[in-house]
C-alpha cells in the first residue's frame, strides 16, 4: 500500500467519523448552549458555553425535596443491573441446556423463542398491565425487572446458545473425566470460555433495560422511582420541547452505555460472530 493510498484511506475514514459524530456534536452543542431552542446553524460547535442545562437536569428535586436525578439514576441502575443479573442467570442455564442436552420439546421451544420476538412489543402492553396487576407488581421496580428480564430472554438465549454450540465438547468431557459434576463443568469451564458472549449479551440486556421507557412510563407512578428515560420524556412535550434540557439529559443517559460499550468493545467483535462463523 502506497503512502498516498494510506493517506486517502485515513482521510476517508476521518470524514466518515466526522459525519457519524456530527449529530452527537450537535446534541452536545444544544446541551451547552444557553437557549432551550434549536438554532439555525450548521456549525456543530457551541458559540456560547453554559452548564445551566446540566445543572437544571442534575439538580431537579421534587416537592418533598428529594433529589430526583440521583434517585432516578439509582433506580435506572438498579433496574438495569437487576435485569442483567436475573436475565443472564436465567438465560445461561437455559441456553446451555438447549445447546448440550437432549430432551423433549427442545426444538419446539427454540422455535417458540424466536416466534415471540415477532409480535410487536408495544402491543403486549395491554395484557402485560393486567398480568402485572394480578401479580401485584404494578408500580414496582421488581415488576419492571421481571418484565425486562423475561422479554430480553429469547434474544439472550439465542445468542448464548449460538456461542455455546461453538465451544468444543471435548473440553467439557475432559472436565467430566477430571471429576467435575455437570454444574462444575458449567461454572468452571463453560462460563469462563464463553466470556465474550456473556459480556456482549449482558451489555445488550443492560442496554435494553436502560433505554426502555414506554413500559416504565406506564407502570411507574412515582417520580422518585422513574427510570431516567421516563424522566427525560418530560422535556419533550407534544407542544413544547425543551431542547437544552433534553440534550443535556440525553447525554447524561447515553454516557454510561457508551462507557460500557467502549469497555466491552473488544468482546463485541468476537462475541457477536463466533457462533455464526465457527458453527
Amino acid at each position: 500500500m502506497t503512502r498516498l493510498r494510506l493517506f486517502a484511506l485515513n482521510a476517508l475514514l476521518t470524514l466518515l467519523c466526522v459525519a457519524t459524530l456530527y449529530p452527537v456534536l450537535w446534541v452536545v452543542k444544544l446541551a451547552l448552549s444557553p437557549t432551550q431552542t434549536l438554532s439555525l446553524s450548521a456549525n456543530p460547535l457551541p458559540e456560547a458555553v453554559t452548564l445551566d442545562h446540566f445543572r437544571a437536569v442534575l439538580g431537579s428535586s421534587d416537592a418533598q425535596g428529594r433529589w430526583l436525578f440521583g434517585r432516578q439514576l439509582l433506580s435506572s441502575l438498579v433496574v438495569s443491573g437487576a435485569t442483567t443479573l436475573v436475565g443472564m442467570s436465567l438465560a445461561v442455564t437455559a441456553a446451555y441446556a438447549l445447546s448440550r442436552f437432549r430432551f423433549p420439546g427442545k426444538d419446539s421451544g427454540l422455535q417458540l423463542l424466536l416466534v415471540t420476538q415477532m409480535f410487536p412489543a408495544t402491543l403486549m402492553l395491554v395484557p402485560l398491565y393486567s398480568l402485572l396487576q394480578t401479580l401485584g407488581l404494578l408500580d414496582s421496580l421488581g415488576g419492571l425487572v421481571l418484565v425486562y428480564a423475561t422479554s430480553s430472554l429469547p434474544f439472550c438465549v439465542w445468542m448464548l446458545k449460538g456461542y455455546f454450540d461453538t465451544l468444543p465438547r471435548e473440553l467439557e468431557e475432559a472436565a467430566l473425566m477430571d471429576g467435575a459434576s455437570r454444574w462444575q463443568v458449567f461454572v468452571k469451564i463453560v462460563l469462563p470460555l464463553a466470556r465474550p458472549a456473556l459480556a456482549v449479551t449482558a451489555l445488550f440486556s443492560f442496554m435494553q433495560a436502560w433505554n426502555e421507557f414506554i413500559l416504565a412510563a406506564t407502570l411507574l407512578n412515582d417520580a422518585a422511582r422513574f427510570t431516567l428515560p421516563v424522566a427525560l420524556q418530560r422535556y419533550v412535550g407534544e407542544y413544547k420541547t425543551e431542547w437544552g434540557h433534553f440534550a443535556a439529559g440525553a447525554l447524561l443517559i447515553s454516557a454510561p452505555v457508551m462507557a460500557l460499550f467502549f469497555a466491552l468493545q473488544r468482546y463485541l467483535i468476537g462475541g457477536l460472530t463466533a457462533g455464526a462463523v465457527k458453527g
Partner: protein
Amino acid sequence: MSDVRLVGLKKRFGDNAIVKGVDLEVQAGEFLVMVGPSGCGKTTLLRIIAGLETADEGEVYLGGQRVNELPPRERDVGMVFQSYALYPHMTVRENLAFGLTLRKLPRADIDARVAEAARMLELDALLDRKPKALSGGQRQRVAMGRVIVRRPRLFLFDEPLSNLDTALRVQMRGELSRLHRQLGVTMLYVTHDQVEAMTLATRVAVFNQGLLQQLGPPMELYLRPTNTFVAQFLGSPSMNLLTARRDGAHFRGAGFTLDAVGEASGEVKLGLRPQDLRVADEGPLRGEVLAVERLGFDGYAFLQTAAGPLAARFEGSSVEVGQTVAVRPLGDVLHVFSADGARALRHP
C-alpha cells in the same frame, strides 16, 4: 482379575447402530489397544467405559462393580482426548491440578503430585504457560499429565497421537510404553493405526462394524488372524487375498496353481503376506508391475495378476514398472480362509 468387563454392549445413534453387541474383558495392568477403521465403534466403546455415553443395552463392569449408571467422576477413570482438550483459560499447572482441586485435596498434596507428574513428563519449565503457548508434543504431555496426577485405576486414550508428526509420534509411543511400565495401571487405547497397536499393546482388540473381530497379543493376531478382515488390517502392506478352489492336491485360481495345505475343500480365500512372497524369475504367480515401493536395497512390488492385485517383496534392483515378473512364496506361508472370509481354516 479382570479390571474392565463389557457384556453385550449395544449402542445406536438414531437409525445407526454403532456398537452391535460387544463382550470384552481387560486384565488389570494390561495395555489393551482397540483398533479398527473409523466408524467401527471403538471410540464409542471407550466413551461408554468412560461414562460419557450410556449404552442402550449391556453392562459395563469396572473392577467388578457395575457402573452403567455412574457418572464419569465416580468411575475413577482418566482419559486423554484426541484434541487434548486442555482448558484454554488455565495455565498448565491449573490444568494439571484441576481434577485434584475438584476433589478438594490439600494444597500441599496437589502441589506435590503436580510436581511429580511434571517431572515425569518434563513439563517443569512450562507450568505457568497457557496451552496456547505450547507445541503439539507439549500439549500431548500435559493431557497425559492431567490424567497421571489423578492416579486413576484405568487410563483411556482416544487416538492421542494422531495430531502429531511422525518423529514425535515414534517418540511418544516410546514414552507411553515407559509410562505403562512405570505406573503399572490398566490402559485402554483407541487408534486406527495398526503400527501403534502392534508396538504398544499387550493385547490388541480389532473391531469392525460394531463388532469385536479378534482379541489377543499382537503377534498372535498377526500370525493367526481369525478372518480376512483382521488379516488385512494388521501388517503393511496388507495381506494378499486370492480366491481359489481346492482341486485335490492343489489350490487353483485365475492363472495360478499352488500346492494345497490343510483340510479345506471347495472354494476358499488364500492369504499371502507380501513379506512371504519374493519376486523371482520363476514362480506360481505372474503379473505386470504397476508400482514399486523401494525402501533401499529391497522393497515391495505391486503387481496386477490374473487373480487380482498382488504385493510382493523384492531384493536387488531388477524390478521396473511395466515389467512382467513371477512371484514365489517362501516356504509354507499360506493362510486359508473360508470363501466369505469369515473363518480362518488354516495358518502356517
